[in-house]
Symmetry: C2
Subunit: 82 residues, 2 copies
């Protein structure tokens, strides 16, 4: 299944509890899209958050984040890895 890195740019000040709550919302919404959200990395200073997922498509990633109430600003299919 394709893997995706999506980016959120406006989560300045995000706390560990808030990120965990956001991630749990994704986990709760991912099954109906056939997605698997694996990890999220946040920089509270800049507000950048990076989420790694496996999903059938970028649209599926978008729909999960939309349903969770934190739309992604950018979604990239990361087909090459090292």
């Amino acid at each position: 299944m394709p893997e995706f890195m999506d980016v959120h740019k406006s989560m300045k000040g995000v706390t560990p509890e808030q990120l965990m709550e956001a991630h749990r919302a994704d986990l709760a919404n991912q099954d109906e899209e056939g997605a698997d959200f694996k990890h999220a990395w946040a920089d509270p200073t800049s507000g950048m958050v990076f989420c790694l997922s496996e999903a059938p498509s970028a649209e599926a990633v978008k729909r999960v984040h939309d349903k969770s109430g934190h739309p992604a600003d950018e979604i990239y299919e990361v087909s090459v890895q090292a």
Copy 2:
């Protein structure tokens, strides 16, 4: 040790071999900076590459990539994770 996600924005068309070569250059240069480059995810279509590392500082991450010949466009300390 702090963890960092850095971003390269101009690697359009990057192949698996090119990404592996770039990653190996980082691995070869990381010890003198006390850094540990863990993984790289690339989207050849957009040219975006995301690198995850542990390092003493963002400056150390910058120096490793500079020495490897592929400077990072952005470096974020990802102190919050889920």
